[in-house]
């Protein structure tokens, strides 16, 4: 909305109202402080001297070894936990598919299946064409090259490698991954020297098992889509041991609450709550966590978490329109690890002077170009983009045709700003017409929608030149058609499309796409939350996101202009009248009433 220029407003109104120029002091009220009365975390340790578990695995003979290999370790687990694999076989951690089979098929059949095995993204583009490499992260752990590992009805059913999640240092999962046939380039933009991580003492690892930890979950989730922090600005290795300013829940006591991932992502029968595919910011906000697994802020903090603050009641009334994360995660990637914001696949294949793959770095030491990946850009302290979200993701699959770029495609207020180093605004402007391959549904008129933060990922991805179908690409492997062997897009897309079961014209083009990635982690301490003025201003964070009634932003430009015009005219009239009176008074002095 357009208002009068600030100088004009100040001049007219300030002079008019108080007869003196009021200089607008930037007197922001300080954010109120208060520690929410959170429920005691389930991860809280028991009283001193009392064991925190009824089973001390380090004392079990079955786990004393010796073990010849990882499979033997797993067999030892299953000798007691014999239904563990059955519990896990239907979960998204095993199938990489949403909805879970127990919920039933989506109405549109396989084409509507979600989960990383099915959807396209702007990082590694598609899973089916790289199944060998991608499944290095799979919890089956030991059957790396068998696509049937996703299928719990196959014979024999794939095992579940318990230690992937329950070895507390995360080293087991990391070692598994490195044995699993992933190309180094999947995670390492630059070739590293030295040995790959390995777990030497299998018995020690077996005896160390316990609940999941930040490190064990993080072994995969902190490194999603190509290395530390690449995909998520709010999930990266900084969270293994975060400061309270980075994550007030996961930081160690006394500054933080000492949560692990599992404190919020509660579990029933190994099915973990809090997938991005389930729930939304407006769903069952008052549901207590004790009623079943539910990773939500309200589960602990209730629907009126600000009640002990001076204006808490007013803040509480925001929650039917504003997700908690919007104010309480003011920026992402605010630790040491940056997050990738731009990935341009179209520039892949430039070799170094030695005719070998190479990398180029920017002045901060971040890799700006890698032969295998193209141009890359990372950013730190990224202010999330705010959108209306009902929690439902609208996703594309490999082979889905992209729409032609629209003339104006402004459904998200790309008000990215406050970022260190990188000109995110310029990137956002360059992608302003690019279609979304992952976006949240929802709008201001839907009562289920909230204003919520997302990370917007900007990618230039290969498509079928004929029909703009999103391409599946084969990156690695022994055959010559893999992209990273010969840097030939036609054959890499050809092999990828075949793996994904999508027809391909034979010609590759590139398209700009955008992708929304949810932001739910790295909740900051309360005093770092956004203050009122961040949004309640004509040029605030919600300037580009219409909807609702936002005092400070919303009004009618015409009314403002008309009001200021009337004020200005009145002021001018009385000044003129006064000057004339003074002038004439020199000649016509004397009292009025005789």
């Amino acid at each position: 909305m357009i208002m009068a220029g600030p100088w004009l407003r100040h001049l007219i109104l300030a002079v008019a109202l108080v007869g003196a120029v009021v200089s607008p002091a930037a007197a922001q009220s300080s954010a109120s402080e208060g520690v929410p009365d959170a429920a005691p975390p389930s991860a809280a340790s028991a009283a001193p001297g009392v064991p925190s578990s009824t089973a001390d695995h380090s004392q079990f003979e079955e786990l004393a070894g010796p073990f010849k290999n990882a499979q033997e370790v797993n067999q030892a687990c299953l000798s007691c936990h014999n239904t563990g694999p059955e519990q896990l076989h239907g979960t998204i951690h095993f199938t990489w598919t949403w909805p879970p089979a127990s919920v039933g098929e989506p109405a549109g059949g396989d084409a509507e299946l979600l989960g990383m095995r099915h959807v396209a993204n702007g990082f590694f583009l598609s899973t089916p064409s790289n199944i060998d490499a991608c499944t290095s992260c799979h919890i089956a752990g030991t059957r790396f090259d068998d696509p049937a590992m996703f299928d719990a009805s196959s014979e024999p059913v794939a095992p579940v490698d318990c230690l992937t999640c329950h070895e507390p240092t995360g080293q087991w999962a990391l070692a598994n991954f490195h044995e699993g046939g992933a190309a180094c380039s999947m995670c390492h933009d630059e070739r590293l020297r030295g040995k790959t991580p390995e777990v030497e003492d299998l018995a020690a690892a077996a005896q160390s098992v316990g609940p999941t930890t930040r490190a064990s979950c993080g072994a995969c989730h902190f490194n999603a889509d190509g290395g530390p922090g690449v995909k998520h600005g709010d999930l990266n290795p900084d969270l293994a041991n975060p400061a309270a300013t980075l994550d007030v829940h996961m930081a160690a006591a006394p500054d933080g609450a000492g949560f692990t991932c599992g404190t919020c992502h509660t579990t029933k029968d190994h099915a973990i709550a809090g997938s991005r595919y389930a729930g939304g910011p407006g769903e069952s906000p008052e549901r207590p966590a004790l009623e079943g697994p539910a990773a939500s802020c309200q589960g602990c903090h209730s629907a009126n978490p600000h009640k002990q603050l001076a204006n808490g009641e007013r803040l509480d009334r925001h929650i039917d329109r504003v997700a908690c994360e919007t104010c309480h995660i003011p920026s992402i990637a605010r630790g040491e690890t940056a997050t990738r914001v731009l990935w341009d696949w179209s520039t892949v294949g430039k070799l170094g002077r030695d005719r070998k793959p190479m990398v180029q770095k920017d002045k901060d030491g971040h890799i700006a170009y890698a032969t295998e990946k193209g141009n890359l850009t990372v950013a730190s302290e990224v202010r999330p983009t705010l959108i209306w979200s009902n929690g439902r993701l609208d996703l594309r699959h490999p082979g889905d045709p992209l729409p032609e770029p629209a003339a104006t495609d402004a459904d998200a207020g790309d008000a990215a700003g406050g970022d260190k180093g990188v000109d995110l605004k310029a990137i956002a402007a360059a992608f302003a017409d690019a279609p979304w391959i992952a976006s949240y549904e929802g709008d201001a008129s839907s009562p289920q929608s909230r204003i919520a933060p997302v990370k917007v990922m900007y990618s230039v991805v290969p498509v079928d030149a004929e029909n703009r179908r999103l391409a599946a690409v084969k990156f690695s492997g022994r055959s010559g058609d893999a992209l990273w062997n010969r840097f030939n897009w036609k054959s890499a897309v050809g092999a990828g499309m075949e793996a994904a079961g999508v027809p391909f014209s034979g010609d590759v083009a590139f398209a700009k796409v955008r992708q929304m990635i949810p932001v739910n982690h790295t909740v900051a301490p309360a005093d770092q939350a956004l203050d009122c003025g961040a949004c309640h201003a004509s040029d605030g964070l919600l300037a580009g996101l219409p909807g609702g009634f936002l005092p400070g932003r919303d009004g009618f430009a015409l009314l403002n202009w008309a009001g200021l015009a009337i004020l200005a005219a009145t002021l001018a009239s009385v000044l003129l009248h006064g000057v004339l009176r003074f002038g004439f008074g020199i000649f016509y002095g004397g009292p009025r009433h005789g």
Partner: protein, 210 residues
């Protein structure tokens, strides 16, 4: 014994203690409301949004209480009749402001306890009381309910338009304030009317009983 209104002093005692208290409290509350209101509307930053909103709500409800007393006072004392519009000497006033004031013509109106305000003045005050004030209070109360008791708010009422009425009335009241502050300088002397509203005494008031 002579009381405070002893005839020794020239002029008339025109504004009672309550009127002056009402006037000055109302003036400071309205200025507070305009300053904070236009901050909430996004025109400037003075107190910070949160503090501005708090001040705005407190000042608004204080003004409502003040008005409850003022309305009661007007009804009980019969002082409401000063605001009954009249065309008597209307043209004389208009031509005085347009011409006479410049050439030293006598003021066509002398305030008395019977009629404290000139016809233009009475009309302007009436417009404030029956149009501007109700418009801004009703719209303001509706928005307060919208924020404070969302469940009581009628969903079909477009809050943006309620807000527009509130803002439009605020502009009119700000305009009124400018004109008012200027026009009180058009008495016998520049500060005479201001002094009357401070001390209660108008030295040029019409003391005749008629």
């Amino acid at each position: 014994m002579a009381d405070v209104a002893a005839p020794r002093r020239k002029g008339i005692y025109i504004f009672t203690v309550f009127e002056r208290f009402w006037h000055w409290s109302q003036a400071s509350l309205i200025i507070t409301l305009l300053l904070t209101g236009f901050e909430i509307h996004g025109f400037w930053t003075l107190f910070g949004f949160e503090q501005a909103l708090n001040l705005h709500v407190y000042a608004a409800f204080t003004l409502v209480v003040l008005w409850v007393f003022a309305i009661f006072w007007h009804l009980v004392t019969g002082q409401w009749h000063h605001y009954v519009p009249t065309t008597d000497r209307m043209w004389a006033m208009i031509s005085f402001y347009a011409v006479g004031i410049f050439i030293g013509a006598p003021h066509p109106f002398r305030p008395s306890t019977k009629r404290k305000h000139n016809p233009l003045q009475a009309m302007a005050y009436l417009a404030f009381q029956v149009a501007m004030a109700p418009a801004i209070w009703i719209s303001g109360l509706i928005m307060w309910v919208y924020g404070k008791f969302p469940n009581l708010y009628p969903g079909e009422l477009p809050v943006l338009w309620v807000n527009a009425i509130h803002v439009a009335a605020a502009f009119l009241i700000a305009t009124f304030l400018i004109a008012h502050v200027y026009l009180i300088t058009t008495g016998e002397t520049v500060t005479e009317q201001l002094k009357a509203m401070i001390t209660g005494w108008d030295p040029n008031g019409d003391a005749r009983e008629d």
